[in-house]
């Protein structure tokens, strides 16, 4: 529920005396079971309900209805016990002690989670080695770079060896090297300890490298639940053929045999053709192209094929949803 404060001074004064509330459903009818050792890509446009779901899973928010269990615990009822079995990383926030050296934060968490010294030592050494953190352990957290801080936050959330890890946009704002280090680390963690990972991100290449299952949520509802390969199989049938000719193929007409393909754009000597994998093979297309081009004295110089990947497929799904959303709003406005 949120309070609508009104627009402009006059309305705000009115609302001061008679506040108006409206209920917004952030998460609505999600039915989901996540198995041990899965790495879930928890995707969706901004404001879809991703972070709300994580807050519900940590027990910070109390659901208004429905059932939610993490390892047989109801998080909102037994928050403290639940806290011991989960690790949480928020890319936009830091749980580290701002004024103290990074290593001090780890020591405090060791005491807070009552981690036995030997286990703490082993975990810390393992993670420091893998994330290459020796050089900045003694630095105060406020002096760390974003990438260093994020590594620190990830280690902080894993010292107590939680079987479940929630990562809320862990790669936001990171450079490619830091990002890959973190993704590889999460992959290794999952492989070694079977840690279950729930990852929200807008960086779709993260998902492609790491996730074993992709869930897309929008307006609080799950709209897609697939394996990355299936996603491509089912939605990624679009292919691009980029053909480079010896000179600009002006007035060039696509042969009748390839009426299932569409010229997306022309850039000088290059033509980009979009077609569906099921309707046509790339070989067929190239063969008929060269056949048609030959009589006009134009040769094919180079050819490349671009397949759909997770990123392009999901982009298309988002765009479609957004298109529908705006269409709906416009309809309502009328």
């Amino acid at each position: 529920m949120c309070c609508n404060k009104g627009q402009g001074t006059r309305e705000k004064v009115t609302r001061l005396f008679s506040p108006r509330y409206k209920t917004v459903r952030a998460v609505d009818g999600i039915d989901l079971c996540i198995k041990r050792g899965e790495i879930i890509g928890w995707l969706g446009p901004n404001g879809a309900g991703k972070s709300t779901t994580i807050k519900l899973l940590t027990g910070v928010l109390h659901p208004d209805g429905g059932a939610l269990k993490v390892n047989n615990l109801i998080p909102s009822k037994r928050r403290v016990e639940n806290a011991r079995q989960i690790g949480v990383v928020y890319g936009q926030r830091s749980q580290l002690w701002w004024d103290l050296p990074l290593i001090d934060s780890f020591e405090i968490l060791k005491a807070m989670y009552r981690i036995p010294p030997a286990q703490y030592r082993a975990n810390l050494d393992f993670m420091i080695e893998l994330l290459n953190m020796q050089s900045f352990l003694e630095q105060p957290v406020r002096k760390l770079s974003l990438g260093q801080r994020m590594k620190g936050d990830i280690v902080a959330s894993l010292l107590h060896e939680p079987p479940i890890l929630y990562l809320d946009e862990p790669t936001i704002g990171l450079d490619v090297v830091s990002k890959n280090a973190i993704l590889n680390f999460i992959g290794a963690l999952n492989a070694n300890r079977h840690t279950t990972v729930l990852l929200t991100t807008h960086n779709l290449s993260d998902v492609e490298h790491l996730c074993k299952r992709i869930l897309i949520i929008d307006h609080g509802k799950i709209i897609l639940d697939v394996l990355p390969d299936d996603l491509i199989q089912r939605y990624g049938k679009q292919r691009q053929l980029i053909v480079e000719f010896s000179r600009a193929p002006d007035g060039f007409v696509l042969p009748i045999t390839i009426n299932k393909a569409v010229i997306a754009r022309r850039e000088g000597n290059k033509v980009v053709i979009v077609f569906n994998r099921d309707d046509l093979s790339a070989l067929q297309l190239i063969a008929s192209l060269s056949e048609a081009a030959l009589p006009t004295g134009v040769n094919i110089v180079d050819v490349s094929i671009k397949d759909d990947n997770v990123e392009s497929v999901i982009t298309r799904i988002y765009e479609d949803r957004e298109g529908k959303g705006t269409a709906r709003q416009e309809k309502q406005a009328r």
Partner: protein, 274 residues
């Protein structure tokens, strides 16, 4: 209540770590500590002259001598930095930034975390501010020190209970943040009410009799008034134990209420930002 205490015992290593971390965090700001010391010294001087003027020509007020009131006024400013009075602002800040999410996802209760932090801060203030001020002021103003160990012991125990009373009142007030978006109005209201009812600037013995009767029943007087009334001898040694019992009862009640209120507050929590 028993579970609360056993949880504390179990959380002791965690508590020690948080206390230690907070001691370190506070020590980082050296200049802030020096300013606090100077400010307290100035206030001690100002209040001294105020009381000297007010007592002109009167041997005592409601049974308290000038010496007792002067000692009270100086010591009140010296022990005041030990008491929690910053939680509304702290929790408000955590709410605003959304970092409250970390405080409420630790495997400890939020109130306990705040208590440990407050203990850490009080320890720093004790060593860097209160003890040096105490030495300076007692020598400078020649304040009469208690001559019986019972009074010293009573004062020490009372001070610990004062600390807990101040903490739980502050913590209860800080939970207000869970219901509203901006609690700064509450912060100033709480400061004024607590300072007045606890006897930070005015010893409760100068209040009119009718007001005194009400104020002496409230938990606030356990903060500044009780330990200082013991120390200055306004409360006689044989009346110390009932005073400590009064403080203890209020600490237990406040602790219990804050636990309940926290559960209600958590249902109200919304974490701001992404």
């Amino acid at each position: 209540m028993i579970t609360t205490f056993s949880q504390w015992a179990g959380d002791l290593p965690a508590g020690m770590a948080i206390i230690k971390s907070h001691v370190q965090e506070t020590l980082v700001y050296r200049f802030d500590l020096v300013i606090g010391l100077v400010r307290a010294l100035i206030l001690v001087g100002v209040f001294r002259y105020l009381w000297l003027a007010l007592y002109t020509g009167r041997p005592d007020v409601n049974g308290a001598s000038l010496a007792q009131t002067l000692a009270y006024a100086a010591l009140s400013l010296i022990i005041n930095p030990l008491f929690s009075n910053w939680l509304i602002g702290k929790v408000a800040n955590q709410m605003r930034t959304g970092n409250i999410i970390f405080d409420v996802t630790r495997p400890s209760y939020f109130g306990d975390l705040l208590l440990y932090q407050t203990v850490g801060q009080a320890l720093v203030k004790l060593i860097t501010t209160s003890i040096p001020l105490f030495v300076i002021v007692t020598v400078w103003l020649r304040i009469a020190l208690p001559d019986t160990p019972v009074v010293w012991l009573g004062f020490a125990v009372s001070l610990v209970l004062s600390f807990l009373t101040a903490f739980y009142i502050d913590y209860l007030a800080s939970l207000w943040n869970f219901w509203v978006t901006n609690a700064s109005g509450m912060r100033f209201a709480k400061w004024s009410i607590t300072d007045f009812l606890a006897g930070v600037y005015l010893p409760l013995w100068i209040f009119p009799a009718a007001l005194q009767q009400v104020v002496l029943l409230l938990p606030f007087r356990g903060i500044n008034y009780t330990p200082l009334a013991i120390f200055t001898g306004y409360i006689l040694p044989d009346r110390i134990w009932p005073e400590l019992a009064f403080q203890l009862v209020w600490v237990v009640v406040l602790m219990f209420v804050s636990r309940r209120l926290y559960v209600a507050a958590m249902r109200k929590l919304s974490v701001q930002g992404g």
